[in-house]
């Protein structure tokens, strides 16, 4: 009889709480968004399932030395995973449109203003300054940078900020278009931009070195992220490292994406997550995201007052770092008003500039607050 009682006491049924069940539904909701709505399935499937799994009571998963704790400790706490993800993203990124038209870097800068809108909003809601910085950076729509900064400044809110960043990245096609239509006239949406000049191989080879030098000298704190981003990009441009490029773009990126998803999801356990704070973080993340979209578009409108060759303001919203989703959204909205207007490559300029801009913003937060 005692043995039976011991066995029953060691089942999860006895330790199950309403909080666990709520988190199961949260995990299932993320998986639903990924599977049924096709929202960033590569990320939301492992994140959603990890939330579901770690909220099974008394499972040996997240305690010290246990499986998912090991992924989290060596991947996220040691900040390895975000850097390797950036290696993969660099290997996939084409800087050609940005090199051809360096003005687009300014659109990447203006889209970071939303970070600071949410930063102040978070302080207003009672978060401390380090937490506010970690919440604000969600506006950059860059998952690895959000994780990198949050782990450094406010690891206690890593789960909420990471999930918010990746969720909003997945919802770019839902969040941005209404803002883009609100802030632009039909005439502006139909602006056609001239083809940009061809970019030579030499320029593409020198750019990663130039960018690494300038950014790491300005913001040394962000060297791990930018350094790996640029070496990934160099792999893309150098002949003879095809194997390294393929690994960086595919196998390595896929492996760390799995560990990232499992680790991020594991931070959302019922006892840590079910309080008002994550709800505020999600709300502020949305504000950050929307504000970044607004500021990106508004800067284009200001620039157009002074430029002879107008820029289509729809590419201003691509200044957030959700590469290439934000650029695709610019193309899609432009296409609705002029099916022959091909904005995608023009929008890639601010899109990749946004990645660098968010990294600089995060690096400055780290320099001043760590």
């Amino acid at each position: 009889m005692e043995l039976v009682q011991t066995v029953i006491a060691n089942t999860g049924f006895v330790h199950l709480t309403i909080g666990h069940v709520i988190m199961w539904f949260v995990g299932i909701f993320f998986m639903y968004l990924a599977i049924k709505k096709d929202f960033e399935p590569l990320l939301l499937v492992p994140i959603g399932f990890s939330i579901f799994l770690v909220n099974m009571p008394i499972t040996p998963l997240t305690g010290k030395g246990e499986l998912i704790y090991i992924f989290y400790h060596y991947g996220l706490e040691w900040e390895v995973i975000p850097c390797i993800i950036f290696l993969g993203i660099g290997a996939l990124t084409d800087f050609g449109p940005m090199i051809a038209n360096p003005k687009m870097l300014m659109l990447g800068a203006s889209a970071q203003l939303g970070v600071y809108v949410a930063f102040f909003g978070a302080i207003l809601l009672g978060f401390d300054i380090k937490e506010a910085a970690s919440i604000g950076i969600i506006g950059g729509a860059d998952g690895p940078t959000t994780i990198y900064l949050t782990q450094s400044l406010a690891p206690q809110i890593l789960g909420a900020t990471a999930v918010a960043a990746y969720s909003y990245m997945a919802m770019v096609p839902l969040i941005q278009p209404p803002i883009m239509r609100l802030l632009t006239t039909e005439k502006e949406r139909k602006i056609r931009m001239a083809h940009f000049r061809p970019v030579s191989k030499t320029e593409r080879l020198v750019f990663p070195l130039l960018a690494t030098a300038l950014i790491c000298l300005l913001v040394p704190a962000i060297a791990p992220l930018i350094g790996l981003f640029m070496i990934g990009n160099l792999f893309r441009e150098v002949k003879g490292v095809g194997r390294l490029l393929k690994t960086a773009q595919e196998e390595l990126l896929n492996i760390v994406t799995i560990f990232l998803g499992l680790s991020v999801g594991s931070t959302m356990q019922a006892e840590n997550f079910l309080n008002p704070q994550p709800i505020f973080i999600f709300f502020l993340g949305l504000i950050a995201f929307a504000a970044s979209t607004v500021t990106g578009i508004l800067l284009v409108k200001v620039m157009n007052l002074f430029l002879k060759e107008k820029i289509n303001p729809l590419i201003g919203s691509a200044g957030i770092s959700a590469v290439p989703m934000a650029a695709r959204v610019s193309q899609k909205v432009a296409h609705e008003y002029d099916p022959k207007n091909y904005l995608l490559m023009h929008a890639m300029g601010p899109n990749v500039a946004g990645l660098i801009g968010t990294a600089i913003a995060a690096g400055m937060f780290m320099s001043m607050l760590k």
Binding site: Y116, V206, A361
Partner: protein
């Protein structure tokens, strides 16, 4: 009050750094492109048949 003062300083420096950083990069890219195109033009001139004469 101290938090707000710090926050304004952090935001002001951060925004400036983002714009200055990307401006520097834009300037650097322009200069780099100029020299790369100059080098490409010189290479083409040297390898053209007229230069052999």
């Amino acid at each position: 009050m101290h938090t707000w003062a710090m926050a304004f300083k952090v935001a002001a420096v951060g925004v400036s750094a983002v714009f200055v950083g990307l401006l520097m990069l834009a300037g650097g890219v322009k200069i780099m492109s100029f020299f790369c195109r100059l080098a490409t033009r010189k290479q083409k001139e040297e390898s053209s048949p007229d230069s052999a004469m």
